[in-house]
Amino acid sequence: MKSGEMHVQYDAIGGAGLQFFGKVSASIAHELKNVLAIINENAGLLEDLSYAAQRGSAIDPERLNRACLQFTKQIQRADGIMKNMSRFAHSVDVFDAQVALHELVCLVANLAGRLAAMRKLTIEVTPAAIPIAFSGNPFLLQNLIWLCLEFAFGATSAGSTLLLALAKNETGITLRISGIDSLENNFPSRMPAGYEDLLAALGAKLSVDKDTKELILDLP
């Protein structure tokens, strides 16, 4: 990796990249803490049951089974979180790569899933008809999609579903985020800070279609 070129790209987006990394890390840490709390309480419950058994109480095998199922469920949940975290962390390893775009969008959607759930929103990603590859800096694109989602979260009513759909056209690639309630002409002023630098660094364009309630990201 040519670190000089990489620095130029990351310098161009200022502190936004670091903030994005921080937000994602904080969200992951919070989610893992919740998983640990559930595992901790189920382990404690087994201790409670064993303590009661030592004093002559019968243990309900079904209760033991439910605790074990919770361990399995939470371990699988943590494994999913860690896999996403690992993929995200490694996205800064390369700054000029060819990546499967559907997977990249799914990763950002998963990383933003907890923030969406906090606002009672659901994110769905529709696969493109054909596999689409993106050439460029995957971290910058993840950051830009994240900022688009942050905007969409703030402009959409609780209970809604945000749909992310990719398509390849003659001029490039389009990512449409639909289901946004409140799209106005002044949407750029409501976008989170740093998005313009990311658009410039990626050579991308952002627009809205108020009729279809879509935020449209055009990539080269």
Binding site: H30, K33, A37, N40, G44, L45, D48, K73, M118, R119
Partner: protein, 142 residues
Amino acid sequence: MTEKILLIDDEEDFLAVMSERMKARNMEVSTASSAKEGLEKADSGNYDAVILDLMMPEMDGIETLKRLKEKNPDLEVILLTGHATIKQGVEAMKLGALDLLEKPADINSLTDKIHAAQAKKMLIVEKKNEEMIKKIMATKGW
């Protein structure tokens, strides 16, 4: 004496197991999986303590704490959180939270806090009763 507590957390699996463990410790437990449901339940129940998650959908724990305290300033609230910033901790204490514990929490620490909450509530009730008796005695001239 049995403590009556309300657990508010959006993690249903956490609520289920925590509630079971608290019940095994002779507590009367109600649960709510959202701030809205928690506020409604807090209105209708005479709880010794509310155990409140800091990060929840729609309304966070700080806002929920504020509303709980507005309705019932004497209600004891213990915040339980996956991660809290110092700023959030200070804000929670300023708003009158009894304590802020980090998840995963030690059940003994939590039950100690609940006992402390109940003892504090009992003192408040006794003090209020004393004041009421004093007022009655003053007006009746006994």
